[in-house]
Point group: C2
Chain length 554, copies 2
C-alpha cells in the first residue's frame, strides 16, 4: 500500500482518509445493506410487462449508496470520481458484497461500464455518460451472452447497422443480463456486443455499443426486459432477458473502433474477474463470521477429552474447531490473493514495471480459486450449523446458494484455467510463471511450500511442452496448485509482518495472534493437500478420449 | 452376491427374480416418482393447523409404491415381507431416491422403524404394527432430536410415565422429524426416545417408545405436528416439529427394555446411516446422468486442439470431459463402498465370520464419504451446465440443494469421523483397520493405492496412540483417506472383473469399457489426491487451541 499511496497520483489516499472510508463503508454495509440480504432473497425482484420492481427497502439503500459517493472512489477525478486506488475500492466492495451480494452486483457492473467508457469511449460519450455513472445516479450493464453464445462469445448474432448520424440501430436478444432492468436509477446504460454489417466471423467481427434506456433527449429507447430468471441464489439481483430493437428503433453508439469489441469487453471483464474473485472472499468472510458466532454460542456435548466436564460450546470440539480454522485460513488466503491482484492493478496504472504481467497471471487465479474456495467455505458454514444450517431462516444456506454462481459467471472457472495454461503460460513459455515461482522460493522458509513450488516448477515445464488436450485436461488442478502456492507465500508474508508487529509491542495483539495461528494452519494443512494434485496434473488427459458417446452415456 | 444368494435364507433371490425386481423399480422410479421431483420442490407440503398436505400427485405415486410391494423386499417373511437380501433393497432404494430424494425419505424412515420393532419389539407390538408398516400402508418415524439435544442425544428431556396398563404417557417436543405428519398413509407410527421417571442422566437413561398417530382402538392419539420447516432442499419431505402430550394424553408402548433406548436407536441408525450414504450415490448418479446428457447436447466453441473445426458438444472440451470423468468415477466409487457395506449387512445376518466387524468399520465411511462425494458431484453437475446450472428450471441446482442435508443428518459427518477414530479404531486398537489395509495390500497391484495404504497404516499407528484431541482433529481427513483407499480397491476389483468379461467375449462391452476407463481415472487422479491429506492427519490438532474466544472472533 505504501508504494501505491506514495505516488502523487494517489496522494489523497492518506492513512486517516483510508480509515474513514473503510469505517463509513462498514457502517453502510452493516446498517443499510445487510438487513436487506434476506429480504432480497425471499422477496426477489418482480417482473411485470418489461418493468422490474426491486424488493422493499432497496431503493432507499441504493440512495444511501449514491448520496455517500460510494461509487466514486476509484473513478477518474475528471468525471466526478475521487481518483483513489482500486485496492481501496475493493475493500469497500468487500464490505458491501459481504452484506448483500445480490444487491452489490448493480454497482459492480456499473464500475465495469465506467472502466470501458473511460478507456475506449469518445470524449462526447464520456462527457455525456460518465458523470452520472460515476455517482451511481445511472447504472451500467454488460450485454454479452446470447442463447447460443455463452462461453463462445464469438458466436453472437446481435447486429448493429449505421443510421448515418453517427448512431447505430441495434437489434438482438441477450440473456443473463445482470441488473438489465430495475427501478433504482433514473437511467440504465447498456454496453452491448453486436456485429456490424459485413463484419468478419468470430470474435474479430464484434463491436461494442452504448445503448441507453433513455436517450439523450429523454425519450425511451427501444430496449426492454422480456423476463427475469428464477435462480438458485443472488435472488436480489434481477437477471434479465433483454430485447433490443423489437420495434426496429433501438439506438446505440460505438465504444472504441468498429471490431474493437473484444478488446473493450476485456477491459470490463478483467476488472470484473477480480471483482468476482472478491465475491468469493465476501461470502467466505460472511459465512465464517456467522459460523464462528454460532459455534461459540451453541452448547452441545462434553469435550471427548473431558467426558465429565459437561456440555461446551461446539467450537471446543476438535472437528468443529478444525472446520472453523479451515474457514478462516481459506478466507484469509483468498483475500490475500485477490488484494495482491488489486495491488498490481494499481501498480500497473502507475506504470510500475512488471505489474501488468503479474496482474495478468494473478487474474485467473483470483477469479477461479477465490470462487472455488468461496463455495467450499460457504458449505463448511452450513456444516458447522448442523441441522440448523439446512433451515433457510438461519442464513447459512443462502450463502451456499448465492456463492454458487461465482465459479460460473465472468468466464467459468474452466475458462480461467484455460486462460492460465494458454495465454498466460504458453503465451510467454512460462516466463511469468517461473518469475512467480522464483519470488516464492526466494522468500519462503516453509518446507511444504518449497515442495509445492518445486512440483509446480516441474509441471510448468511439462505443460508448456504438452499437447493442447493434455494441457487443458490438467488446467484445473494446476490452477489450484499455483493458487495455493501463491496464497501460502502471501500468508507467510503476513505472518512475518504480524510477528514483527508483536515484537515491536503492538497494542492490539488479538488480531495478530489469530493471524499467526491461521497462517500456521494454512501452511500445515492446505499447502500439503495441494501437493496431492501433482500426479493429476502430470497425468493430463490420459484416457479421457478413450470413450465414445455411447460409452460415456452408460 | 453369489455368496449371499447361495444361502438357503436368500434362496428366493435368484438371478431372474433380481432382474425383474430391478426393472420394476426402475420403471416405478422413472415413470411415477421422477416426474414429481420438481413438483415436490416447487410445491412443498403445506401445514395447516396440525394437518400436512403433500404436493399434488404424491398420494397416487405412494399408492403405486404400496401396491407394488416395494417396501416389503428385505422385511421378514413372518410379517408380510419377502425376506430378500438388503443389498437388493438398497438397489431398489437407489432407483427411487435418485428419482425423488425428498419423497424417498418416508419409506426409508419406515424401514428403520421396522428394523427396530423386529429386533427389539415385543411379540404383541410386532403383530400389531409390523404387517402394515412392511406393506407401507402405515409409515414410521424416528424421533430423537430436541432443540437442545441434537448430536448430543443424551441431553433430551422428553418424558414417559407408566400408566399402569402397560402403556406410557409420553410428553415432549421433537424437532427435525422427517415425515412426522402427512396425508399419504392411514397411520403414522412414531418411534420416540424419552426419559422415564428416575432414569439416570445422559444416554444410559433413555428408552424407546412406540407412539402411533391413531391408537389400536382407532382414536386419535395426543401427538401433533406443530409446524414444518422451510429448508434449503428436499422440499418434498415434510420436516416436522412434533408435539407429544399437549393434552396430557399421549399414549406409547416401550420397545425393548427400559433404558434400552440407545441400543434400539442404533439399530435404526446404523441402517439409516448406510441409507444416507446411498443417498449420496442417488444424487451423484442423477446429477451425473443429467450432466452427461447436457454436455453431449450443448454445442459451444471449437476444440482448442482444432480451432478451425467448428463448434462441438462441450463434452469434447478437455476440462468438461475431466469434470464428467470425475463425476462418473466418484459416483461409481461411492456406490462400490455403500454396496460393499450392504453386502456385509447381509453376510452378518447370515452369521458369516468377520462380516459384522467389517460392516461396523465401513458404516461411517459409507455415510460420510458417500455424502461428501454426493455434494461434490452435485456441485460439478451445476458447473457442467454453466449459467444454465444456476437457473432452477434446469434441475441441476435442486440436486445441489437436496444433497446438502446428507452430510448433516443421521449423525453429522464429524460424528461419523469421530465414530471411526474412536469406537471403530481405538475400540480394537486398530485391528479391524489393519485387516482392511491388509486386504487392500494383498489384492492391489496399483502403485498409488499401495502408497496410500502405507500412509494409512502408519497414520493408524499414530492415531491409536494419539491424544483424544489430536485424534479427533485428524478424523475428517483420515476418514477421507481410508474411504478413498477402500473405493480404489473395490474399483480395481471391478476393473479386473470387467477385463475378464471382455476377454471371455461378453456381448455388451460398452458398459465394461466405460467401467475400465472410469476405474483407471479414479486410480490415476482421486487416489493420489488423497495422499495429500497425510500431513494434515499427522499434524492433528496442533495449534487449534492456541486461540481464545476473543482471538477466534477477530
Amino acid at each position: 500500500m505504501a508504494e501505491i499511496t506514495s505516488q502523487d497520483q494517489f496522494a489523497a489516499a492518506e492513512s486517516d482518509m483510508v480509515d474513514a472510508i473503510l469505517d463509513g463503508a462498514a457502517s453502510l454495509a452493516a446498517n443499510e445493506w445487510a438487513p436487506l440480504n434476506r429480504v432480497g432473497d425471499t422477496n426477489p425482484p418482480r417482473w411485470d410487462d418489461t418493468v422490474v420492481t426491486m424488493p422493499p427497502g432497496f431503493r432507499e439503500a441504493y440512495r444511501a449508496y449514491v448520496e455517500g459517493g460510494w461509487g466514486t472512489i476509484a473513478a477518474p477525478s475528471a468525471f466526478e470520481g475521487q481518483g483513489l486506488p482500486s485496492t481501496l475500492a475493493f475493500a469497500v466492495a468487500e464490505s458491501l458484497g459481504a452484506a448483500n451480494l445480490g444487491f452489490s452486483l448493480g454497482p459492480m457492473l456499473t464500475q465495469g461500464a465506467i472502466e470501458a467508457i473511460v478507456k475506449h469511449g469518445s470524449p462526447e460519450l464520456q462527457a455525456a455518460y460518465l458523470p452520472k455513472l460515476v455517482t451511481g445516479e445511472w447504472t451500467g450493464t454488460m450485454n454479452l451472452t446470447e442463447p447460443n453464445a455463452g462461453s463462445d462469445v464469438g458466436a453472437l448474432r446481435s447486429s448493429a447497422t449505421p443510421v448515418g448520424d453517427g448512431s447505430w440501430r441495434v437489434k438482438g436478444n441477450k440473456i443473463f443480463i445482470t441488473f438489465g432492468e430495475h427501478d433504482l436509477a433514473e437511467n440504465i446504460i447498456h454496453l452491448v456486443l453486436a456485429r456490424t454489417p459485413d463484419a468478419p466471423a468470430g470474435t474479430r467481427g464484434i463491436s461494442l455499443f452504448l445503448v441507453p434506456k433513455f436517450l439523450p433527449d429523454g425519450s425511451r429507447n427501444d430496449v426492454h426486459c422480456a423476463s427475469i430468471e428464477h435462480k438458485l441464489g443472488i435472488h436480489a439481483s434481477p437477471t434479465c432477458v433483454m430485447s433490443f430493437g423489437d420495434n426496429e428503433d433501438c439506438r446505440g453508439w460505438l465504444i472504441g473502433p468498429e471490431f474493437g469489441g473484444m478488446r473493450a469487453m476485456f477491459t470490463m471483464m478483467n476488472n470484473a474477474r477480480l471483482n468476482v474473485g472478491l465475491q468469493g472472499v465476501q461470502i467466505a468472510e460472511r459465512a465464517t463470521q456467522q459460523a464462528v458466532a454460532y459455534a461459540l454460542e451453541r452448547v452441545q456435548s462434553s469435550r471427548a477429552s473431558n467426558p465429565e466436564g459437561g456440555p461446551v460450546a461446539i467450537i471446543e470440539h476438535p472437528d468443529v474447531r478444525r472446520m472453523i480454522f479451515r474457514m478462516k485460513a481459506q478466507t484469509q488466503a483468498i483475500r490475500s490473493l485477490v488484494y495482491a491482484a488489486a495491488g498490481e492493478l494499481d501498480r500497473a496504472h502507475l506504470g510500475i514495471k512488471g505489474a501488468k504481467q503479474r496482474l495478468d497471471l494473478l487474474t485467473p487465479l483470483a477469479k477461479a480459486h477465490g470462487t472455488d474456495v468461496g463455495c467450499e467455505v460457504a458449505s463448511l458454514g452450513v456444516q458447522v450449523h448442523g441441522g440448523m444450517g439446512f433451515i433457510e431462516e438461519t442464513g447459512a444456506a443462502q450463502h451456499y446458494r448465492d456463492v454458487r454462481i461465482t465459479p460460473i459467471y465472468e468466464g467459468t472457472n474452466g475458462i480461467q484455467a484455460a486462460d492460465l495454461v494458454g495465454r498466460k503460460l504458453v503465451g510467454d513459455e512460462g516466463e511469468q510463471m517461473h518469475a512467480l515461482i522464483g519470488d516464492v522460493r526466494l522468500e519462503t522458509k516453509n518446507a511444504g511450500l518449497l515442495i509445492l513450488a518445486d512440483q509446480i516448477s516441474s509441471l510448468t515445464e511439462i505443460l508448456v511442452k504438452a499437447s493442447v488436450d493434455d494441457r487443458l485436461a490438467a488446467s484445473a488442478p494446476y490452477l489450484t496448485m499455483v493458487s495455493v502456492m501463491t496464497c501460502g507465500w502471501l500468508m507467510e508474508r503476513q505472518r512475518t509482518a504480524a510477528t514483527e508487529l508483536i515484537a515491536n509491542g503492538q497494542v492490539s495483539p488479538s488480531f495478530l495472534k489469530a493471524k499467526i495461528a491461521t497462517v500456521n494452519w494454512y501452511l500445515a494443512h492446505i499447502v500439503p493437500e495441494a501437493t496431492g494434485l501433482a500426479v493429476s496434473v502430470s497425468e493430463g488427459g490420459k484416457g479421457l478420449y478413450d470413450l465414445n458417446t455411447e460409452e460415456l452415456s452408460v
